[in-house]
């Protein structure tokens, strides 16, 4: 096992975005790595070591054995863990946009909050965010018709609007509240919201959604099927099918809901 600690150096302008797609475990397997890793800070390309201090503990032979630990202000570090296939990334603070983009395997744990597009179009692996996730968590990017296809995303806090947009496979769990149009255009997979959200699963064509809190602005084009008792806590939930406006065959379990006035 190797633990690589990346400690962010103080920055003159901490708001400048850092394009950090090189921060994936496979780039840190070898002792001599990182050799040529660079990041774009604003419009300047910098060597990774100019931006972070690296400390290595242990040795590794494959990416599975690598853990990256990001320490300090990483709230503007974008695309960390992009296309990651194995290993683990631990982020001690907040993380910038697009963390876990198109990730295929391994695990990312964020102790703070995540900015927009967390785990966008993820294919496999696990992402856990102990804080809040901003908009478009576990969704597809602009114009994309398929969002997350596999793996697991868990947000312990709240999530923003368009969470799990175009969800196609895998599971997304939000322990707090989620924003407007959560699960919009969902086509497969499982979405679980423990808190409240609004206009959930609009235009869905497939997959299963659960909302254990309150749904505001319930979409009227879902067909009520039955009432069911769900889970070990025996929660009484209404079961809907839809979105029939889109000839959808999704299933939606909702505890409490309100139609728009």
């Amino acid at each position: 096992m190797v633990r690589v600690i990346l400690d962010v150096k103080p920055r003159k302008n901490p708001f400048l975005p850092v394009e950090a797609e090189c921060l994936v475990p496979k780039n840190f397997v070898d002792e001599r790595e990182p050799r040529d890793l660079s990041v774009w800070v604003g419009n300047k390309e910098r060597r990774l070591e100019e931006v972070v201090t690296l400390t290595r503990e242990g040795t590794a032979t494959s990416p599975e054995d690598v853990e990256l630990v990001l320490r300090g202000d990483t709230s503007r570090f974008k695309r960390v863990g992009e296309y990651m296939e194995a290993g683990r990334i631990t982020i001690e603070g907040d993380i910038g946009m697009h963390c876990g983009n198109l990730m295929k395997g391994g695990m990312i744990v964020i102790h703070g909050n995540a900015d927009s597009w967390l785990a966008r179009e993820m294919v496999g692996g696990t992402v856990r965010c102990n804080g809040d996730a901003h908009h478009y968590c576990a969704s597809g990017y602009r114009g994309e018709k398929r969002g997350m296809r596999g793996g697991e995303v868990e947000v312990m806090g709240n999530a923003g609007d368009f969470t799990a947009e175009y969800l196609t496979g895998g599971s997304v769990t939000i322990h707090g509240n989620s924003g407007d149009l959560t699960g919009v255009e969902m086509a497969g997979g499982t979405l679980i919201v423990h808190g409240d959200c609004s206009r959930v699963c609009a235009n869905m064509t497939g997959g299963t959604g659960y909302v254990y809190g309150m749904v505001h602005h319930m979409i009227p084009t879902f067909r009520f099927r039955e009432t069911a008792i769900i889970g070990p806590e025996k929660v009484k939930m209404s079961v809907f099918e839809g979105d029939i406006a889109n000839r959808g065959k999704g299933t939606l379990f909702i505890k409490v809901y309100k139609y728009p006035l």
Binding site: Y141, R142, G143, E144, K145
Partner: protein, 566 residues
């Protein structure tokens, strides 16, 4: 005075009957000349394939619907990004790239002139603005007349001279190049919730048929002596069984011009389907090719479809709506008052689909079954059939039967009984490819006499040199080398200046927009016609005086003045 000498060029120039001769080309002030002084800049072509600059006679690269294609598909903009480098702007987009993306990619493939296939007159300013941002190709625009109210009224009144006068006024006003008719009458009918099934269906209210629109516009075109012929996108695009409508439309065309065709029928692949539904669709390319072989006054372009992702865009609004119902993906439709409309949807052509496989075969069959390559030009209706960056693959397919057979082997086996491609063993040679990609276009657009599409004395020095020694390879076997070589020129030269070398762009700007001003007798001009003026002010939301595109929109332009035979 600027001089250039290209040494050891292996020239293929069918117009001047030069077929793979190693020779020198002398250029002075942008034109091919007999010889130059010894102060001339020298380029060593190393015996590589050298042809006139490529001309695309039907492509969609500029204007409102192209731009809509860009902003409705951010995922397409993310594909194919290139960084700013030297003189080059950054570019993005795959099927609908930025204007610079289009211009650079055409330039590095050796293309120096392009015709935008469909410009709605009312929205001409947008097209010209994007032409200005397309810095390395000469640009021309087809002007849409398929649902033009004053034209349809004049057609109904059987007044061909009035049709000609309206066309003359509009072409001059919008700085257009040629007459385009897209699904004649169909887009207007769609405004009434209808369509036309073929050329004999009347358009609601106007009570004229597509056949009448086509024939009258062809006659008007020749009255005005326009360089290009009428450019037709037939009714019924993409419908199984539409081949008979396509042939019927060709039958309507009279033979009126000795120098070039009287009717250009575009993207004929989309119009050569047999069968009665998507389930039994088959190729009728052989029937359509027969018709073209019997009619020397018709020129078509292939409209080749290639597998992969692209965006479809056309003035044929109802057709795009039908496609949308098939795919259920994003879709846009647009009406242009009194004139035409448009529709756009992204598509994915799959090798696993029998329908797509049949479409792929039809384009190639047309090119291989039409005897005279100047009657079947190479185009994909970019980006409808595929982005133009696939032209090298299409050329390789036309030159190599083994390549075609290898591709056919990857298609669903049910395809084979529906197409004739497996049995066609014709392999085109470099002369024929030159005809299909530059010489034929020069003739079809009426620009051969103006020095385009060939390398004869006095011709415009638009030259493409590809890193390929054609004497040393067999395109039938070494088709991958053909593809590689045609993707990136060693040199692309425009007006005697090198604009691209090995994929790098070396020029900021080198272009002109070619437009047409037909002169008709003063008393017949539409700007003096009380009826035309009254109806214009009554129905358009813009004033007639604000309608014409100002000169400021065509800062670099070449106006062809024609004298109408009245």
């Amino acid at each position: 005075m600027s001089e250039l000498l290209i040494r050891h060029a292996c020239v293929v120039d069918p117009v001047n009957r030069i077929s793979g001769e190693i020779m020198d080309l002398a250029v002075r002030d942008g034109r091919i000349v007999e010889s130059v002084s010894d102060r001339a800049e020298v380029i060593d072509a190393q015996g590589f394939l050298t042809m006139a600059g490529g001309i695309d006679s039907h492509t969609h690269i500029c204007g409102t619907k192209v731009n809509f294609g860009r902003y409705m598909s951010p995922e397409d903009m993310r594909a194919g990004r290139t960084l700013k480098k030297g003189q080059m702007h950054s570019t993005s987009g795959y099927s609908v790239p930025t204007t610079y993306g289009n211009s650079y990619r055409y330039a590095t493939m050796g293309y120096t002139a392009v015709l935008e296939g469909a410009m709605a007159p009312l929205e001409a300013r947008h097209t010209h603005e994007e032409f200005m941002a397309t810095p390395l190709q000469d640009t021309m625009a087809n002007v849409l007349f398929d649902g033009n109210w004053p034209v349809m009224e004049a057609v109904r009144d059987r007044d061909v001279k009035r049709v000609a006068a309206i066309v003359a006024w509009v072409l001059t006003a919008v700085k257009g190049f040629a007459i385009k008719i897209t699904n004649p009458g169909g887009t207007e009918a769609w405004g009434w919730g209808k369509n036309v099934t073929c050329i004999r269906d009347p358009v609601p209210y106007f009570e004229v048929t597509p056949a009448e629109i086509i024939e009258t516009l062809i006659r008007a075109n020749e009255i005005l002596r326009l360089p290009h012929s009428v450019h037709l996108h037939c009714n019924n695009l993409g419908t199984p069984g539409n081949y008979s409508c396509t042939i019927g439309s060709m039958d309507v065309a009279p033979d009126l011009n000795k120098e070039r065709q009287s009717l250009y029928v575009t993207h004929v692949q989309f119009h050569s389907y047999g069968g009665t539904s998507w389930k039994d669709i088959n190729s009728k390319a052989h029937v359509v090719a027969d018709a073209v072989n019997r009619k020397p006054h018709i020129v078509i372009d292939m409209g080749q479809m290639m597998f992969g992702k692209t965006t479809t865009m056309t003035a044929d609004g109802p057709m795009e709506f039908n496609l949308y119902k098939l795919h259920h993906n994003k879709w846009s439709n647009h009406d242009v008052e009194l004139e035409t409309g448009s529709g756009i949807i992204p598509v994915y052509y799959s090798r696993k689909s029998i329908v797509n496989s049949v479409m792929w075969a039809i384009g190639l069959e047309l090119a291989l079954l039409i005897k005279n390559p100047e009657q079947c030009l190479l185009a994909t209706d970019n980006p409808n059939g595929s982005p133009f960056v696939k032209y090298p693959e299409i050329i390789a397919l036309l030159m190599s039967n083994p390549y075609r057979q290898a591709e056919i082997a990857t298609l669903p086996p049910e395809t084979e009984s529906r197409i004739s491609l497996p049995a066609i063993d014709r392999e085109l040679d470099w002369n024929e490819i030159a005809m299909m990609t530059r010489a034929g276009q020069g003739r079809a657009l009426g620009l051969r006499k103006l020095g385009r599409g060939h390398l004869g004395l006095g011709a415009i020095a638009d030259i493409a040199i590809y890193p390929l020694s054609i004497g040393a390879i067999d395109p039938s076997k070494e088709y991958t080398r053909v593809i590689e070589a045609l993707r990136l020129t060693r040199y692309t030269i425009k007006n005697g200046k090198v604009i691209a070398r090995d994929g790098e762009i070396l020029s900021n700007r080198n272009k002109t927009t070619i437009w047409v001003r037909p002169k008709i007798p003063e008393q017949h001009r539409m700007d003096h016609d009380p009826d035309f003026i009254r109806n214009f002010e009554r129905y358009y939301t813009v004033r007639m005086s604000n309608y014409p595109v100002q000169e400021a929109y065509v800062p670099e332009s070449t106006c062809i003045e024609t004298e109408a035979v009245w």
